[in-house]
Amino acid sequence: MLTLSSWRARFDRLTDTSEVAEQVDGSISGYLTNKRIGWYVHRGDLVVPESVDNDMALVVDGDMIVHGFLDDYVSDVGLLVVLGDLVVRDLVSWGSVYVAGDLRAEGVVYGYYNDYTFEVAGKVHARALVLDDKDSDYRTGELEAEIDSYSPTKKQYRTARDIFVPEVYDDGVERARRGKLPRLDRPSYHLVCSRLHEGLPLFQ
């Protein structure tokens, strides 16, 4: 897994974030104008050839394509602003993600925890979008399953349960051993993250 700050020589310090802050629309502008956060910028499209740990505050002035999963809570909390599209295998986010275009994930997009934000000005396309207590703003694209941040329905839980493996649910393995389906709940953020890091499948 690549730690994004190890690529620091490819990025420039973004001392004046006001121009980017004017381009984006949402809570992320508060992070962009926060003088205590040291932002960096990548000019043009950014292609990462493997899974990536975003440990920095980065603006990508183009598209970002990650040939693996993106996790922004491994070595530090990451903040990411993509002014084009973001394409990933999977995205697990404790920090902030802002995408000006579309967000496309082959697998899961999981936004977790009530600090930081999840904002997509375009549409979110993914196999499953799971939000848990996350300040979020997005439009729905192609999604097989979607679990809302604050008031998910039983139908949303059922649809997600139909596609996820039981191992991503708390007590899921134990219940499967007893021939039962996982409880109607969100997949566990921690179990999803650990399975991604171990290279184990999330979906049936």
Partner: protein, 523 residues
């Protein structure tokens, strides 16, 4: 920006065309789309071809097919005659992990700068292609080369003298920058590069005398005590106040002569940090007590090694009858003076006469330096009205005795009073006779008299054997460290007990005491 661009292109073509294109874009990205369909999509529209070329998990075979098609029939990889759409496909392929080394070698000579830039960064680009890129006319391409993950040593060495400062800067900022290369860049003409090298600590001291102010600041901030010490005589006279301020920090400077210079600096923030530093000489701290800047006085009143006469001088600067809305530094100054372990009794009396805000009798009874008449007054006022025959009798005895007997004897009497706050005030006060304190410790119930015994630990009149015993037993280290006349043996016992968080503080006090030997004045 794939979609954004696509949306612009759709504009004016009608909703149906947009929707259809949206669907094709989604199909081109979708993981389950079969390879045969991807070929069709790539043939259909250059925008879709670019998406296919960017796909996660693209096969090497399809990547090569797309490259051949985008490069033209001859596969020359020349941008001349290549459609713009095709160039975008090649840009995508130059960053695509599935692209082969052979194709990357060809793309390294493509006319498009962005294509070559991506090739320079690609993990699979072979060394001969990297050598070609080393001579690239575009600084952006060479900069990408300098920033790539694995950079052959000879190419890195060649980039050290690149004509472009941005290229050399990228080399310095590499995650695994070679220390020899960093040392070579320490004398680079571009200050941005020297700053990076200074921050990484590879300038071998050259950064401390750099022409660039920011480089010098970074260098000083990164230096440890020993590393900085030989340069301090010069740095404390640096034309930049930021450099001088950094030199005044306690983590950078324990040297008396340079600190004395900084304590007399014309810039208040520099004096402020000198006033905070425990190693600033007593005479310099005394001089700072007359400073006109409140922030400096605030730091002086918080420095545990400020000499008593300097604290008394700060008290003189406190105005009378301040209200709660007085400026913030003055509020801190008063609070810190009231709590300072070295403040002389008469200075406390003078401060009390000014009717300071934030004064609490309860706090004063726990402080060791209050004059005896005042602390007795506080104890009687605070405990009134007392209840019960014993307390009433004791109250009357203390009240009568303070008018007729020596006050140290009154304090000794208070230690055996049934009135709790009378015992507590006498236990903490330095005017209470040592023998009375020893007797109090011998007979006190440790649980019931916890606060009183804590006061004894802070009291400079307490016999050293008692303090030694507590220090060795790991008891009351926090309170002992507030005692202004703590014997070295007590400090050594605390310093030796690494199980507590106070050991390092005790070691630091011993170190400062050693440094100040012969100059320290006791309260």
């Amino acid at each position: 920006m794939l979609i954004s661009r696509h949306r612009v292109l759709c504009c004016g073509q009608g909703k149906d065309v947009c929707t259809e294109m949206d669907e094709l874009v989604s199909e081109a990205w979708r993981a389950a789309t079969p390879k045969s369909r991807l070929r069709e999509l790539a043939d259909q529209d250059p925008r879709l071809a670019r998406i296919v070329a960017s796909r996660i998990g693209l096969s090497a075979k399809l990547a090569e097919e797309l490259a051949v098609r985008a490069s033209g029939a001859g596969g020359s990889d020349s941008a001349e005659g290549t459609a713009q759409g095709d160039v975008r496909v090649l840009r995508a392929l130059a960053a695509q992990p599935a692209t082969s080394p052979q194709r990357l070698t060809l793309l390294a000579q493509h006319a498009d700068e962005q294509v070559r830039r991506s090739v320079a960064l690609h993990r699979s680009t072979p060394k001969p292609a990297l050598r070609v890129l080393l001579g690239d006319a575009s600084a952006e391409v060479r900069r990408a080369l300098a920033a790539r993950e694995k950079l052959p040593r000879k190419i890195a060495a060649a980039l050290l003298t690149d004509a472009s400062a941005d290229v050399r800067l990228a080399l310095a900022r590499r995650f695994e920058a070679n220390p020899d290369h960093l040392r070579a860049l320490a004398r680079d003409p571009d200050p941005r590069i020297r700053r990076v090298v200074a921050a990484l600590g590879h300038a071998d001291g050259a950064d401390l005398s750099d022409d660039d102010v920011r480089t010098r600041r970074i260098a000083v901030d990164r230096c440890g005590l020993e590393e900085l010490a030989p340069h301090l005589d010069r740095l404390v006279r640096d034309p930049d106040a930021g450099v001088r301020q950094l030199c005044a920090y306690m983590r950078h400077n324990h040297s008396p002569a340079p600190l004395a210079v900084l304590a007399a600096d014309p810039v208040p923030t520099v004096r402020e940090y000198a006033a905070m530093n425990w190693y600033t000489p007593a005479e310099a701290l005394a001089a700072l007590a007359g400073d006109t800047d409140l922030r400096v006085l605030e730091r002086i009143s918080d420095n545990p090694f400020t000499p008593p006469q300097a604290l008394a001088a700060v008290v003189e600067a406190v105005p009378s009858d301040l209200d709660g809305s007085s400026p913030s530094p003055m509020r801190s100054i008063i609070s810190q003076l009231l709590d300072h372990p070295a403040i002389p009794p008469e200075a406390l009396r003078a401060l009390y006469a000014k009717n300071p805000p934030y004064f609490h009798m309860n706090d004063a009874m726990g402080q060791s330096n209050w004059p005896p008449d005042l602390v007795i007054e506080f104890a009687l006022s605070y405990s009134a009205p007392v209840e019960g025959e014993e307390e009433l009798r004791s109250y009357a005895e203390i009240d009568a005795a303070r008018r007729s007997e020596p006050l140290d004897q009154v304090l000794a009497t208070m230690l055996s009073s049934p009135i709790h706050c009378a015992r507590r005030a006498a236990a903490a006060n330095r005017h209470t006779p040592p023998q009375a304190l020893a007797e109090y410790v011998r007979t006190a119930d440790p649980e019931r008299e916890e606060y009183g015994l804590d006061g004894v630990a802070r009291n400079p009149s307490t016999p050293v054997e008692i303090l030694n015993a507590w220090a060795a037993a790991g008891e009351r280290h926090y309170e002992l460290l507030k005692n202004p006349s703590l014997a070295a043996s007590v400090l050594e016992a605390i310093a030796a007990d690494d199980s507590t968080e106070y050991a390092s503080q005790a070691r630091r006090i011993l170190e400062v005491r050693g440094y100040r030997a012969g100059t320290e004045e006791t309260c």
